[in-house]
Amino acid sequence: MTLDSKIPAGPIEQKWDNHRFAMKLVNPANKRKYHIIVVGTGLAGASAAASLAELGYRVTALSYHESPRRAHSISAQGGINAPKNYPNDGDSVYRLFYDTVKGGDYRAREANVYRLSQVSNAIIDQCVAQGVPFAREYGGLLDNRSFGGAQVSRTFYARGQTGQQLLLGAYSALMRQVGLGTVKFYERREMLDLVVADGKARGVIARNMVDGRLESYDGDAVILATGGYSNVFFLSTNAKMCNATATWRAHKRGALFGNPCFTQIHPTCIPVASEHQSKLTLMSESLRNDGRIWVPKAKADKRAPNQIPEEERDYYLERLYPSFGNLVPRDVASRRAKEMCDKGHGVGTTGLAVYLDFSDTIKRNGKAWVAEKYGNLFDMYKQITGEDGYESPMRIYPAVHYTMGGLWVDYNLMGTIPGLFVLGEANFSDHGANRLGASALMQGLADGYFIIPYTIGDYLASNKFPKLDAGAPAFKDAETSVADLTKKLIAVRGKTPVDVLHKELGKIMWEYCGMGRNSAGLKKALALIPALRERFWKDVTITGSADAFNQELEKAHRLADFLELAELIVRDALLRDESCGGHFREEHQTEEGEAKRNDTKFSFVAAWEFAGTNRPPKLHKEPLKFDYVKPSQRSYK
Amino acid sequence: MNKIASFTTSSVGRKLLMGLTGFFLCSFLLVHLYLNLFLLKQDRGSTFDSYADFMATYPLIRPLEIILFAGFLLHAFVGVWLWIANRLARPVRYAVNRPSENSTLSSRTAFWTGTFVLIFLVIHVNTFFVSSRFFPSGISMYERVCEAFQSPLYVSFYLVALAFLAYHLKHGVQSAFQTFGLKRKKYETLITATALVFWLMLPIAFAVLPLYFLLAH
């Protein structure tokens, strides 16, 4: 297999325009003859389904949620980037492109990132027209704020609920099409297999989560917009149902998986409180603007924070990075916190937390000032921990938050299986090794509103689709294989509940493939994961039956896939013998402890081909070329 | 026509009908009270009786009377209709429910307080209206009032009914403002004051009369 990224020729500013002209169009009268299956209805899926239906295609949309409005896109707090340059501070399409490529530590495709930056302005226009209540200034025009990794203010926001508002905008556009009958939406359907016929993606097998029936959906193309896989770590800021099953099963049907080891860790999350912790909650990074991070100088110091005198505190970020201090990038702040805790300076009952202290700011500016700026975050902290962040320092710890890796796609967002398109966090394309804040929402909507409507038309117009219905052999085979897998899962009848095994997997991943990774640890994980997988298949217990609503069975399917994906992540991390962005190999750091890339050896996308469970996957490389943004070393000293 | 039908059968339309008839009935209460207050005039009821005669005989009053009855009936009918529909919206009820944590008793019991007021009205109309209008016997309205209001039993019933009316209006008046979409922050004080006039002042003023007759005679 040769990976063809299909990047159009020409100067970067003209690639997308030229490509749009070169692509074939589907005659308006013929569009309704094509049927597109969209799996996942978050930002990317809902915007794609609505836009395609508006164009005239017949669309079937599936979601494992009860409604598209529940998708995890809703949890994004901060905002969405667009280089509108409303603040007149020198922003441009090129600058957003530059910041994103650099922020991704030079592991993203330039052409894709440029296009993302180009279409991002139209997203804001679209959302405003839908009635998204973005924050405004007193003059009635849109407000912008600054966000990590950029020196301009280009982030549009709706309080701390930007993801929610953008999702509700896309959801309303989708529901409008559902009302018009152009989209058929099926709720509580979980995709469990991709149907490939004559080498093309032609449909999916989904489980009706209410009555357990397996259902076949056939179409002329399949779009996966099924999100990321942070939950492979069990504890992450992702919603509980987020999973990799749709992408992983497509991978097993032949779709290559790109850069799986690129995961992002967010530094300011509320730490784990007990062994029963089910998920982690993120608090906006803006807290680091006014809070000071410290740990006790003494190891295992169990005194209350207010009783530790100033001279016995180590403000380690200020000490290590005198110029950036507490405002170092996400990955640096996260790694240093872990390092402090590993050395025994961690605080709280678990010893896995550092203090985020506002007492100096409160002394300087008053409690009211802090409350006005960060009140909602202090409230959130109190709700979860029962502690008052104004009285004593808050405890924070990093948590997995986003996955830059995903199914490999070309410039048209098509995977290596023809007719399989992958959008949003589910694909690998735009963020390289590290995603900038307020860029996830931008990418999801860019893919759904402004890219897929063009590129899918080209695919449909260029191919013939012999009639295939749900009774065709490809569908029968896929359905049988899903039914067999389900039976096999239920038949294990072991002793250990799914969540217990999932937590074990999470611990392995966090320990050996989390913030800091090294060859020995990764190798250890490569032994532990298959062993755990074997235990899963011998000892998992799933109560209830397959033909009913059964959340244990749902989780078991997802964990079965995580147990395979985890191994691939570790393999990818082991292969990538360099540090870049969120991937930090301890063997490769500068004297200052920063990520040290190796551009001569690793300036490529690692795209993995499935070769069978318990068989090593096959690696394909897509070389990355940087014609516009020349790679350089980051420094935050 | 279709529009009117869909308006009156929709839940919001029916609520607007409730509000509209409610406001109308409140305006009637004001007129009623105004006339009742002549009972206090120390002229052995001659002014009061002249108004009563006027109401009974002036031809233009008839249509108003019919509209008023229609208003009552509509208010009651739509109220029952809504109540049944609302009950049907929750066929399985909660085993444990704590509505007192989220709403006032008056707002939850408007149907029952209204029902009690309706029962009172039937008796009240029978005592003062039906007999004088349809079976005139030469007894003046003032004499009827004196007779009724000197019975401690009737007065107690009357006062209890007024208390129910007050409780009904406590919810009803501000609720009608809300239904008409007028309940905004800037009108808050105005609405609270208007509601207070109707639900508190008005029933108290009504209550003064039987107490006066009972205690004075």
């Binding site: 679209q126 609920q161 409008r176 509980k240 029963h276 109560t543 | 339309g13 709403s103």
Partner: protein, 250 residues
């Protein structure tokens, strides 16, 4: 903070939409005050699964109060005893050792129980499909700053838009009315100039669909506002009412 509690749980169990349901009693020791309410249910489910019994089905996803998926009627209150909090944000420190807690699903005719504590809220989607949108084609939008919107108007629209569609308003309302949910969307789009072109059609269609689904009427008890985890104000219901009146009078 240390020390664990023993909690008695009275939980609604129902196999599917067509089965009869009943309450089942469970005693759960070792509940830590730091657990969230849903983590307490996770713990109970681990226990049940280990014993070979079927886990209690309940809807949940983000567990940080924004997705609107969790929907538990806890001791007679939608989302439990705290104000402005979803069930997933409720923590066990709100309860005491020895407490007994009754957990029921949302109860309303348009929200049939699918299993145990899970209800079908697709009625909300159908109301949205009836008119909860601005009809704008992808790509057809003017520049975002073409129409200035006064900040207070945008803020009020945002207050309404904060609705998470959890259905607590319906669950708490004695009439099972969906007015706060519908009003939040109608009000948001009535406030913003982008929504004006369709305002009459929107309110009429959404109210018609709400009625067709079998939700009750609004009695203005304001239980919805009191139980709404996002504390959406009933002034939005007032705005829906005036929008409806306006649509029918003009």
């Amino acid at each position: 903070m240390s020390g664990t509690m023993t909690i008695t749980l009275n939980v609604w169990r129902q196999r599917d939409r067509n089965s009869e349901g009943r309450f089942a009693l469970y005693t759960l020791p070792n509940v830590s005050p730091d657990m969230s309410f849903l983590e307490m249910l996770d713990l109970l489910n681990l226990d049940l699964v280990r014993k070979g019994e079927e886990a209690i089905a309940f809807d949940h996803d983000c567990r940080e109060g924004i997705c609107g998926t969790c929907s538990l009627y806890i001791n007679g209150r939608a989302h439990g005893p705290l104000k402005g909090v979803t069930a997933c944000q409720l923590h066990m420190r709100t309860f005491h050792d020895g407490d007994s807690i009754t957990i029921e699903p949302w109860r309303a005719k348009p929200f049939p129980v699918i299993r145990d504590l899970v209800v079908d809220r697709s009625a909300f989607d159908r109301i949205m499909a009836a008119g909860g949108f601005v009809s704008v084609r992808t790509g057809g939008a003017p520049d975002a700053n073409t129409i200035p919107i006064p900040k207070p108007v945008a803020e009020e629209a945002m207050d309404a838009a904060a609705c998470i569609g959890c259905g607590a308003c319906v669950a708490a309302c004695k009439n099972g009315s969906a007015m706060l949910f519908v009003a939040a969307k109608v009000s948001q789009l009535a406030l913003l100039p982008q929504g004006h072109a369709e305002r009459a059609r929107r309110v009429e269609s959404m109210v018609a669909q709400m009625d067709a689904e079998g939700f009750g009427a609004c009695s203005n008890t304001y239980a919805c506002e009191a139980e709404c985890p996002k504390q959406i104000s009933v002034t939005h219901i007032a705005r829906l009412n005036s929008e409806y009146l306006r649509a029918n009078l003009t």
